[in-house]
Amino acid sequence: MPPPQMGLRTALVRTMAFSDHRAQEDLLKKTWHARPSAGRVLPKQNTGNAVAESDNIIVETAEKIFADLADPQTINHDKKDAWKAPLWQALSDAGLPLSWVPEDCGGSGADLADGFALLNAAGRFAVAVPLAETMLAGWLLAQVKIASPGGEMTVLPASPKDKITLNADGSLSGRARGVPFAKVAKHFAVLAHGNGGVSIVLVDAGQARIEAGLNVGYDHSDTVTLDKAHAITIKPAPRGFDQTRLMLMGGVARSLQIAGALESMLDISVRYSNERVAFEKKISKFQAVQHNLARLAGESAAALAAATSAADAIANAPSFNDEVFLEAAAAKIRCAEAAEKGGGIAHQVHGAIGFTSEHILHRYSLRALAWRDDFGSESHWAVELGKLVANRGADELWPLVASR
């Protein structure tokens, strides 16, 4: 781990410099890493684009690490998950899990936009380590300048339905379900409600009772029970910071990951359709297959557009207003829908082989489905967005939609 004061960019440059040259060449050959400029529009200063301008060293570094240490074919055949520790170590050495933590809080001090781009890249590789979770935990702690400890973290609660209580004696109580990677986290960043309002709290994972579970993508999704748990640090949340904001931030992170997974699903589905022969021709030549893949491209594009727009809105928002709420809630809703529709098409194109555990497709399709559930499902956000729209009134709907 680089010393905190080194800063993310320095650390990344160092990582790149020491990296294996051959591995870099391999990286370039891997088709899904290329970021063609076809859709790139305006210069950065005009677009305010938070995510799509991903030609940055953070994403490059992350993609190189993923390609080297989390190649989907390789890890899919690794029944013992031996790949996870080296991957986490490499990500940590590059300072990536603490991207959103300022340098004076022990992190790498990347801006929000770079972190969002990193999450999108993580989605393209469907990585099953708590990168997003540790980033979110570090971000939450940084809101009140609590320094991030090293190692894996996750956030509590991870659902709008659960509440953690800050007791009068400074201990924490409550139960949080569906907490991603709680089982492997060393620390929890907790948003808790007490008599004095909302607080942000750092807790040692050893203080919690954890019932391990798996989500539909076979990743840890655990129930965490705090029963008068001892806190390491407690600080009152900044004014206006509440659980909704944490849930929306988590939701946008998941949206970017889903969009990334869909990009990869589109890519491997198109490739497969150009290889697989049936009825004496490539299945990509059948119009029915072409139209299915066109729909998958549309779902993938819609998910990416919704997620990157929301990330851009959060990264540049002067305040957390209705427009940002619309962006973030809409992203989670639309990306979740795309995960279902797009993932379904990817499987249909692959036929039986895509349904096997040996094939990598499920690494993306099932995770994209699982990510729908974290930080509020699309049903939850649809109700909340619908209430907001109804409350503003019919004639205020269009001004809200046309606000950016």
């Binding site: 684009n49 072409q290 594009a301 557009a305 919704a306 956000w381 729209v389």
Partner: protein, 386 residues
């Protein structure tokens, strides 16, 4: 990478928001003056010439064109704002919409200078209406099957044949049409079609209105009998229209009109539901708004690509595919939710009347301007499948 279709999250610049205020104020005035009723998308008088001239006087037609042709040299993003505000208000744009969106840009690119100087300023003033002569009785999506012939004669061409489903032909002053000037070749079946500017309301052109299932008469059959078109009305390359068609498509297919045509029923549903919706209404509205928001962000992004001088044909096709399927389903989803609206909702009758019209409108949305099947073919080509 096979695809990586990026829709960068561009934000509309500040001057767009100022313009938006001006457009809203103008529309509010026109509504107050009784020029049109925003709650009545099913009016019969969709052609309102004085409204067209007022919009022209505001400088909102041909906004992106050079000033010497009457334009304003403003950006596509500014035009986007005007278009979406007009559409959401159900403003009567029929007279000028096609000319502003695509006929003008075609003339700018391919017409001789004296014709540009003659016609473009009149489009900008909102004085003239355009139709598009593409489909024929046996040539719809398959554009290159067109048979209407333009035969070379002294100083021009004689046109014989029939165009069909031609929107606004009954009020149009001009049509931009493709006619067959040569037979297709073995190597290229798209060869042999030429784009022409046609002056309507002349002997040799007969326009027969065709009733639609909505009860409106927007489209027509247009019969040409030895109709003379002068040489200087050829647009672009003789026999080479197929090369010119594609760039038009990005303009035609990505705009806000590709997902807002039935939007009014959503507004009216929100009004009927009131400020405290039940869970089912809230969830239904929330999803529809999330889908709408996403499409608009994609569509704005394409406007940004056009502004940057790109030809985002595949991206535009995606917007139209997703957008038209959505606006087609919208009346039915709104109907699902409207079933639970209280009988006492004050706008119940308006909502029901609007739904009635939107449900009848819906089937055309995935057909006009390129069917869903054609669009998916274009997207598939972009993915490297064809």
């Amino acid at each position: 990478m096979t695809a990586a279709l990026r829709f960068d999250p561009i934000r509309l610049p500040e001057k767009c928001e100022q313009l938006r205020k001006e457009v809203r104020a103008f529309l509010a005035e026109e509504i107050a003056a009784g020029t049109f009723d925003p709650h009545k998308p099913n009016r019969e008088d969709t052609d309102v010439p004085e409204f067209s001239r007022k919009v022209g006087a505001k400088g909102w037609l041909g906004m992106t064109w050079p000033k010497k042709y009457g334009g304003q040299e403003r950006s596509f993003l500014e035009r986007y704002v005007v278009t979406e505000e007009m559409r959401v208000a159900n403003a009567p744009t029929r007279r000028f919409f096609v000319a502003d969106r695509q006929s003008g840009p075609v003339l700018l690119k391919y017409a001789p200078e004296h014709i540009k100087m003659d016609i473009l300023p009149r489009i900008c003033r909102g004085e003239i209406c355009f139709a598009i002569g593409m489909s024929e009785p046996n040539s719809g999506s398959d554009l290159f099957a067109a048979k209407t012939r333009a035969t070379k004669t002294d100083g021009g061409y004689l046109v014989n044949g029939t165009k069909i489903w031609t929107s606004s032909a009954h009020i149009a002053d001009y049509m931009i049409a493709i006619f067959r000037t040569s037979p297709p070749t073995k190597e290229n079946r798209r060869h042999g079609l030429t784009q022409f500017l046609v002056k309507m309301k002349q002997p040799g052109i007969q326009v027969n209105p065709i009733g639609q299932i909505t009860g409106q008469y927007e489209f027509n059959e247009v019969v040409f009998t030895d109709f003379f078109v002068p040489d200087d009305h050829v647009l672009g390359e003789v026999d080479g229209a197929w090369k010119q068609a594609t760039s038009e498509l990005a303009y035609e297919r990505s705009g806000p009109e590709r997902f807002l045509e039935t939007y009014y029923v959503l507004t009216e549903l929100v009004r009927a539901v009131g400020p405290n919706p039940d869970t089912r209404s809230a969830e239904g509205i929330g999803r529809l708004v999330a889908q709408l928001h996403t499409m608009r962000r994609m569509s704005v992004s394409v406007a940004g690509m056009l502004q940057a001088g790109k030809e985002p044909v595949v991206e535009a096709s995606i917007v139209k595919d997703i957008g038209t399927v959505w606006e087609q389903q919208l009346p039915h989803r709104v109907r699902d939710l409207a079933a639970f609206v209280e009988e006492t909702a004050t706008n119940r009758e308006t909502l029901e009347r609007q739904l009635d019209f939107a449900i009848k409108t819906a089937p055309k949305l995935t057909i006009q301007g390129g069917t869903t099947e054609v669009l998916r073919g274009i997207i598939a080509r972009g993915l490297g499948l064809r």
